[in-house]
Amino acid sequence: MTNQPAISVQNLHKDFGEIQAVQGVSFDVQDGEIFSLLGPNGAGKTTTISMLSCLLAPTSGDALIKGHSIIREQMDVKRAIGVVPQELALYPDLSARENLLFWGKMYGLRGKELDQRTNEVLDLIGLVDRQKGAVTKFSGGMKRRLNIGIALLHRPQVIYMDEPTVGIDPQSRRSILDSVKELNRQGMTVLYTTHYMEEAQELSDHIAIMDHGQVIAYGTHDELIEIVGEADRIDLTINTESERILETWRTMPGVEQITAEDGRLTLLVNDSNTVLPALFESSNRAGVRITSVQIQEPNLESVFLHLTGRALRD
């Protein structure tokens, strides 16, 4: 039992009529690690989390959470997990404390234990001073923190965080990322979904990149980067929309891949030092002016681009 993963997802499928939202997803999350599901909106991350939370029944496949099946042992699974939903799920007309007390009761906490955990969580999320204030008057960041706090009340062994930083200010985002690390430091296993490459890169021990309902890459950050090899990424903009220059660059030695989106070009190249002068030279010849250039080391965005031909922000 000790070597058993905290989460073991086995060939999970979910269909909504004709739409195959999740198509045979499998991965393991080891005890005490932070595992990220990285992918663009609509990749199937939230549907996967919903099945792992027992909110949606899988069309086929199964998953074991701390050894309990999401199909046959739902109550055991629910006792083991804490869920931070993507959208805020709070009672706006209750105070922060009343929210925590209510949700604590739903997780089976009572009496002194409930009171103590409520105080601890209020302290953890930094809302002690505002505990009696109605949630409706809270800022977005405060609501996000309370949304996370609710999932921590019953000291879950595993916590799911579904895009917890969407739509908040940088300061609150930093605070949330730090608290995720702190929870993990305390021994909690974290399943984290995001479409922000930097968050997955900063937090995760392992990352599964999802697209169109499938896991298209899986591994540690370094393992994933190896997929694109030594390729550099060059982001540039040009002063005109010219298909001719793109055709020239696609056949240029050293250029592996080019995508164009919203007037911005992204190139994966073997060696930016040799390719970049050639790009300028050919653009000069074609009468096209390069207006900005940015060279990046390979990252998860490059991996996604390499695997799908699209940028992660799609």
């Binding site: 939370s53 027992c54 909110l55 109550m75 629910k78 006792r79 997990i81 869920v83 939903p85 959208e87 805020l88 799920a89 709070l90 009672y91 706006p92 007309d93 209750l94 009343e98 209510f102 949700w103 009761k105 739903m106 997780y107 089976g108 609710i150």
Partner: protein, 424 residues
């Protein structure tokens, strides 16, 4: 235990919602209060208060056949000055010039000129004009006077038809018309016409006497007609708003679905039955609080006597179950709160109207309408509350209460089944 935690949370939210509280308690009492202010005193000793209209009458008519003979003009004056008219009309007899001059001034609101030889012309079947001169402002009293004069003129026309028929009958039989028959017939017709008018006004036909059965012995204090109507109106309003609260409290399920808290609840180790059960307990508790508050406050504000304790309890419970049942049933078809507003308003208004809740103060409605009332749970609830207000015993109310309860249980069961299916 979790059921009560869920219910308590919903109660807390309901009672923090100012709009919800207004619709639960303030609105029914306010509407009843407004109706009370508007019509509540109609059945009292003072009755309906209408300003008295000052009438200057110039009666230029002369009796036919000397001073002892009949005078149509005098009959009209008598009609205007009879007992009871003083509540509406202050009649002063004067000459034509004074009557005409006084209108619009402090002397009179209206002048009535009864022409000379009215009686003679009436008997002869000739045309004659009674003149009514109104002041600037029109009042209810003026309309009453106009109505009386019109009615009187109609009576004269009827009398003419009578004399024509008699004359024709005598002629057909080749008989000579005896002297004074025409006048006698006209007088008799006029008396009959006046008597008929009085009867219609009082609502007590002289040829029919309705004896009400002796009321059952009860603790009901004597209530006048106004208080009885008011009690019916308050009962109707209470039923309407209790059903409204039932539905709007059930709406919290949809609201939680939209807020994301319902999905979050389903991720906690709490079964779906407990979660829905908690919601339903909250609906019942909210309705219980609302009914208690409405019964007590209507007693204190309007002095309504809510019948015997047993009957009151029976109808309260059955109404609450029916209101919760209809609320859950309606909500089980609704997908989001954008739909719920219009659907809720529409369904509750239509079923409330069909159930007779809007017409509780109106007497003698068609029997068919009373039958239609019983096709809605509100109609049965209203029927039950009318028994309660009449001081009936719990035994007498039991049948109606059971039917109301059955409505609630059936609607509730179907609603719960549909909701469980939705959240499965």
């Amino acid at each position: 235990m979790k059921i009560l935690d869920l219910a308590f949370k919903d109660l807390l939210r309901n009672f923090r919602n100012a709009f919800g509280l207004v619709m639960m308690v303030v609105a029914p009492l306010l509407i009843s209060g407004l109706l009370y202010l508007a019509f509540g005193n109609m059945g009292g000793e003072e009755g309906l208060q209408i300003p008295v209209t000052r009438v200057q009458v110039a009666n230029l008519d002369q009796p036919v056949g000397g001073a002892e003979g009949a005078s149509v003009g005098q009959m009209l004056v008598d009609a205007l000055t009879q007992e009871g008219m003083a509540r509406f009309l202050q009649v002063t007899e004067t000459d034509e010039a004074t009557a005409r001059a006084s209108v619009g001034q402090e002397g009179a609101d209206v002048a009535l000129i009864i022409p000379a030889q009215l009686t003679e012309r009436a008997y002869a079947g000739e045309e004659a004009a009674i003149t009514l001169i109104k002041g600037d402002g029109s009042s209810i009293g003026t309309s009453v006077l106009e109505g009386i004069v019109n009615s009187f003129v109609d009576g004269l026309a009827g009398a003419k038809v009578t004399t024509d028929v008699i004359t024709e009958q005598f002629a057909q039989r080749g008989l000579a018309m005896p002297a004074g028959v025409t006048q006698q017939a006209s007088q008799q017709y006029a008396q009959w016409s006046q008597s008929l008018g009085d009867t219609m006004q009082s609502g007590e036909p002289s040829t029919i006497q309705v004896v009400a059965p002796a009321p059952a012995e009860s603790a009901e204090p004597e209530q006048d007609l106004g208080a009885q109507i008011m009690a019916s109106v308050v009962a109707g309003m209470m039923i309407f708003f209790v059903f409204f609260t039932g539905a709007s409290t059930a709406e919290s399920i949809i609201k939680e679905q939209e807020e994301g808290t319902l999905a979050r609840l389903f991720t906690t180790p709490t079964s779906q039955s407990v979660i829905l059960g908690g919601k339903f307990v909250a609906i019942f508790l909210t309705l219980i609080v609302q009914v208690i508050v409405l019964l007590i406050s209507s007693r204190l504000l309007f002095g309504i006597w809510w019948g015997t304790a047993g009957a009151l309890l029976l109808m309260s419970v059955s109404m609450i179950v029916a209101a919760a049942g209809l609320g859950v049933f309606v909500m089980s078809f609704i997908q989001n709160t954008r739909q719920s507003g219009p659907v809720l308003g529409g369904v509750l208004t239509i079923t409330g109207m069909l159930g007779g809740l809007m017409t509780t103060g109106i007497q003698n409605l068609p029997a068919a309408y009373a039958t239609v009332n019983l096709f809605t749970p509100q109609g049965w609830a209203l029927r039950g509350w009318q028994f309660v207000l009449a001081g009936e015993s719990a035994g007498a109310v039991l049948g109606t209460a059971l039917v109301t309860l059955a409505w609630g249980v059936i609607l509730f069961a179907v609603g719960v089944m549909l909701m469980r299916k939705r959240f499965a």
